[in-house]
């Protein structure tokens, strides 16, 4: 039995930093609370370094009785999660300045990051559920962190939806346990094909309900716009990015490892969910006037594209690199767009962005790169991600889904352009609407946009890292 604790250094680093930050935060004077932020960043960097070493070593393993897998998907997921936590933290600096709960904020961020990592590596249904809880509960608190009316409402909605789907998910876990007499994916795989069809189908759908809530996919997407709009901008950036990484990789591993031979036609189910997510997200985004709501619906549609890769998890070898690369590209691009929103706290509607190109050409350029990136315009990372995902879908015999995704991409262009065109008009809004929040968010925005472009251009170097079958 492999109980190699060294395999879990990134997860442990986040948790240790969280505990240390909590203790330190209660002793540190108010103006020294930034130490906790630095500690959090250090933990992320350490995690990235260790992950890089592990991936370079190329030794896949299953640890703790096979409950946790350390393989390509885990490595890539760790890199993306840790790499996304840092910018989320960086764009929070200005929002938390002078806040008496600054240390607690970073601790919550570290805890939910740790939970996300636990979901990514989960190779066991109970481990998956534990990760789900650890990732969700701190996130509810983050959503209500601002303690004003809208964020309280956001936290309540987030919590209620999460509690409901969490219960459903736990029920699904127990049903699958009843059907397959195991919770380890490796033991479920041979057991499920001979199990009663109904039990397996119900159990799978119930487990997927929890994951769909995490990633904000249809039909568990109702919370996304309200939470994104109500929570603080950096939290909104977090909520629309990180849980997706955990939920999608977890779903991929679950379906790929536990259900490859099952009679349940889950590829079709996921293809339909993907189609619904991208279409409904796009249609709802069309006439939004609030930038945060627009981005919220845009993330729902992006989940649709990502689910395409999950739908063909076992039908195409291209699915895994496509999913992981798209996730990485989506994370930096989405964070870049949110960093601009964070940098301009007073600009809330599309109309408030009038004339941004004259006042802040740099931020306008970031928005052009990130929003066109979300559309999938080359040479940004999401373009390459979309290319891979479409190729995987066609290769997995879901050409109709790829065609629908193309149609959706065109439709999505409409609302992204609705945001982009005002940038270049003559300023019609008072100058203080464009008052920047500070240097941290701006730097994050520039770095995110640059990374989005770099991922597209240097995609050749990154893609091979994401290729490698999951550990058995």
């Amino acid at each position: 039995m492999n109980e190699n604790l060294a395999a879990l250094v990134p997860e442990t680093a986040l948790l240790v930093a969280a505990v240390a930050g909590l203790l330190a935060g209660s002793w540190l004077p108010r103006r020294r609370q930034w130490v906790v932020a630095a500690l959090a960043a250090a933990a992320c960097v350490a995690g990235v370094v260790v992950t890089a070493v592990t991936m370079a070593g190329g030794r896949d393993q299953l640890v703790f009785s096979g409950a946790f897998a350390v393989d390509t998907a885990t490595g890539a997921g760790r890199l993306i999660v840790l790499g996304a936590l840092v910018p989320v933290g960086a764009m929070s600096v200005e929002w938390l300045r002078g806040n008496q709960r600054e240390a607690e904020y970073y601790v919550l961020l570290l805890l939910t990051g740790g939970g996300t990592l636990a979901m990514i590596g989960a190779n066991d249904l109970l481990m998956l559920f534990a990760g789900y809880l650890l990732a969700s509960v701190p996130a509810y608190a983050l959503a209500g962190f601002a303690k004003d009316a809208t964020s309280t409402e956001a936290a309540l909605k987030y919590y209620l939806m999460g509690a409901l789907t969490g219960v459903v998910m736990l029920a699904g876990v127990s049903v699958l346990y009843a059907a397959g007499h195991a919770t380890l994916y490796g033991e479920l795989r041979p057991a499920l094909p001979s199990a009663p069809y109904g039990l397996v189908a119900v159990g799978l759908v119930a487990v997927l309900a929890g994951l769909l809530f995490k990633i904000g996919g249809v039909p568990a997407h109702y919370w996304v716009p309200d939470v994104t709009d109500g929570a603080m901008a950096p939290v909104a950036a977090y909520v629309t990015t990180l849980p997706k990484i955990g939920g999608l990789i977890a779903a991929f591993r679950l379906l790929h490892q536990a259900f490859p031979a099952s009679e349940v036609n889950w590829p079709l189910l996921l293809a339909v969910l993907a189609a619904l997510s991208m279409t409904l997200g796009n249609l709802a985004a069309f006439f939004q006037t609030s930038v945060k709501r627009l981005l919220a619906y845009s993330t729902i549609s992006q989940v649709g594209y990502l689910l395409m890769a999950v739908a063909v998890a076992t039908r195409s070898d291209l699915a895994q690199p496509a999913l992981l690369f798209y996730l990485a590209a989506y994370a930096v691009t989405n964070l870049g767009a949110f960093a601009v929103v964070t940098e301009l706290p007073s600009a809330r509607t599309l109309d408030d962005y009038r004339g941004l190109a004259h006042r802040h050409p740099g931020l306008a350029a970031v928005l052009v790169v990130c929003l066109l990136g979300l559309v999938g315009t080359p040479p940004t990372g999401v373009f390459l991600g979309k290319l891979e995902v479409f190729a995987a879908a066609v290769n997995g015999d879901y050409t109709w889904l790829a065609a629908l995704a193309v149609a959706n991409t065109v439709a999505s262009l409409f609302y992204y352009l609705r945001w982009l065109t005002p940038l270049f008009r003559t300023p019609g809004v008072p100058a203080d609407v464009h008052a920047p929040a500070g240097r941290w968010s701006a730097t994050t925005a520039y770095l995110a946009a640059a990374s989005s472009l770099a991922l597209g251009i240097a995609g050749g170097a990154v893609l091979p890292l994401f290729t490698g079958a999951p550990s058995p």
């Binding site: 066109l372 315009t377 040479p379 290769n395 262009l413 091979p464």
Partner: protein, 499 residues
């Protein structure tokens, strides 16, 4: 070498972004860059040599796991278009000496567009091609939205973006179809040409051709995908219209000869009739609608539909083996490429001339003008020459191109060719009518004319438009230097299609 040619404008663009130069100096930097690029291309042309193969090839691994490489090279089909791109951008740069609105951003945008256009024509990898294809849409969107005619311009820009973006995504689906059919999976055009992965794949191949054909048809544009074109042209600034008509429309037509025909030869032959019909209909329909216009720029926009229709007719006819020989098909392909060059030169000149007209009179409505030949003889001469050249009078490039297209297509497609031929007659009528109405008779100017009256062309305008018309004349009188480059490549292409 091609990489240098391609990215030189982008380099200049980066310099302009980094250093704050006054507007006029920016344009001079642009002129210098465009001139240097043109000189480089002339050097490439001089060393090109005979034969139909690829020259100056360069291949660097880019995304090997996805079968994508940075692969560039030119042959007789692309070199003329590369040269045309450099020349037109130089002409537009000279013309833009008059521009006064946000000149630095404007210059950067056009330098960026030049890199994109050159990159598309030298690309030998489907993804590289697609990247530039898509970026051209982005660049032109900002040109139309930023420097077009007000609110209407922004609406036209959005329409242009949405239409052509749909086309580009259809194209991408087709490319993915090709990619997945080949073993090992690759996006490289040469490897795909060699492998011919869709031979005998029936419905799958037809779907791929449908996706690629539709994508290219939107950009070309052919009936019924042309509806984005008139508003985009009408509301773009003159320089933008010239580039849009001169270069961007060629991307679609070029895609047919570079991608659709050699990569899907069997399917192309099978469905050649579709393209022949679409081409003939576009030629006649475009001419008829142009005849009904009172708006000078919109009229020229519709004649583009007509002229591009001839090209589609020719490439379709080149896919019909029965009743033709290699010579006829080669002639059709050569004519198509010559027409791309010729149309680029002449239509760009016409759009720049329309910009001169608008600058003086403030409107494009033809019936508001009369007798302009008296106050502005140079404008009248240039417009007359451009109009006659565009309708295909012998002695100009248009005649050479159309003659080859019709001769090459007539053997196998007598009916379609005869129908398309009537397009020439209609274009002649509409151009003559426009010339008579605007330049003959007693002087009448619109009320929106500026205080200075209707001045003749200034030096910047003359020096941008005259070279285009002169080259059109040179090609019309002594076309060998162009045809010697195109013909071998055309023969190679015809051989590939007949596989």
């Amino acid at each position: 070498m091609l990489t240098v040619v391609t990215f030189l404008p982008l380099l200049a663009c980066a310099v302009l972004v980094a250093r704050r130069l006054p507007g006029r100096a920016c344009v001079w930097v642009w002129i210098a860059t465009a001139a240097a690029d043109l000189a480089l291309v002339i050097a490439l042309w001089a060393n090109f040599g005979a034969g139909g193969g690829l020259r100056y090839e360069q291949r660097v691994r880019w995304i090997p796991s996805a079968g994508v490489s940075y692969h560039v090279g030119v042959d007789g089909l692309s070199l003329p278009l590369v040269a045309l791109t450099c020349l037109l951008f130089l002409a537009v740069a000279v013309y833009s000496l008059r521009e006064t609105r946000r000149v630095r951003a404007y210059t950067c945008l056009f330098l960026f567009l030049q890199t994109v256009c050159l990159g598309l024509f030298v690309a030998l990898d489907l993804i590289v091609f697609f990247v530039f294809f898509d970026l051209s849409i982005v660049g032109m969107f900002f040109v139309i939205a930023g420097w077009g005619h007000g609110e209407q311009g922004r609406a036209a820009a959005l329409k242009f973006f949405l239409y052509t973006f749909i086309g580009s995504l259809a194209l991408l689906l087709g490319f993915i179809g090709l990619y997945l059919a080949a073993t090992p999976h690759t996006f490289d055009m040469l490897d795909l040409t060699r492998a011919n992965p869709l031979a005998g794949r029936g419905a799958y191949a037809a779907l791929v051709l449908l996706a690629i054909g539709a994508g290219l048809a939107v950009k070309t544009p052919t009936v019924p995908f042309h509806t984005w074109l008139p508003p985009a042209h009408t509301d773009a600034p003159a320089a933008g219209s010239a580039i849009l008509a001169g270069i961007l429309l060629k991307m679609g037509a070029y895609g047919f000869v570079r991608i659709a025909m050699p990569l899907l030869p069997g399917t192309w032959r099978e469905y050649a009739m579709v393209f022949i019909v679409v081409g003939a209909v576009s030629a006649v329909y475009g001419a008829l609608v142009a005849l009904g216009q009172t708006h000078f720029k919109r009229m020229i926009a519709y004649t583009s539909v007509n002229h591009m229709g001839y090209i589609v007719l020719a490439v379709g006819a080149a896919g019909v083996l029965a009743g033709t020989d290699v010579q006829a098909r080669t002639l059709a392909v050569t004519g198509a490429v010559t027409q791309m060059v010729s149309h680029g030169l002449l239509t760009a000149a016409l759009f720049l001339l329309s910009g001169v007209l608008y600058d003086r009179g403030g409107t494009y409505e033809m019936d508001r003008y009369s007798g302009l030949a008296a106050p502005s003889p140079k404008l009248a001469t240039a417009t007359g020459v451009a109009a006659f050249a565009s309708l295909g009078i012998p002695g100009f490039s248009g005649f050479i191109a159309e003659f080859q297209i019709f001769t090459g297509s007539l053997a196998s497609q007598a009916v379609a060719t005869a129908i398309a031929l009537t397009g020439i007659l209609i274009t002649a009528a509409l151009f003559l009518r426009a010339l008579r109405g605007m330049f003959m008779g007693s002087l009448r100017l619109p009320s929106s004319t500026g205080a200075g009256g209707f001045g003749d062309m200034v030096a910047a305008e003359t020096f941008s438009i005259a070279p285009l018309l002169t080259l059109g004349l040179v090609i019309g009188v002594a076309p060998r230097f162009l045809l010697d480059v195109i013909e071998p490549a055309g023969r190679t292409l015809v051989g590939l299609v007949a596989r």
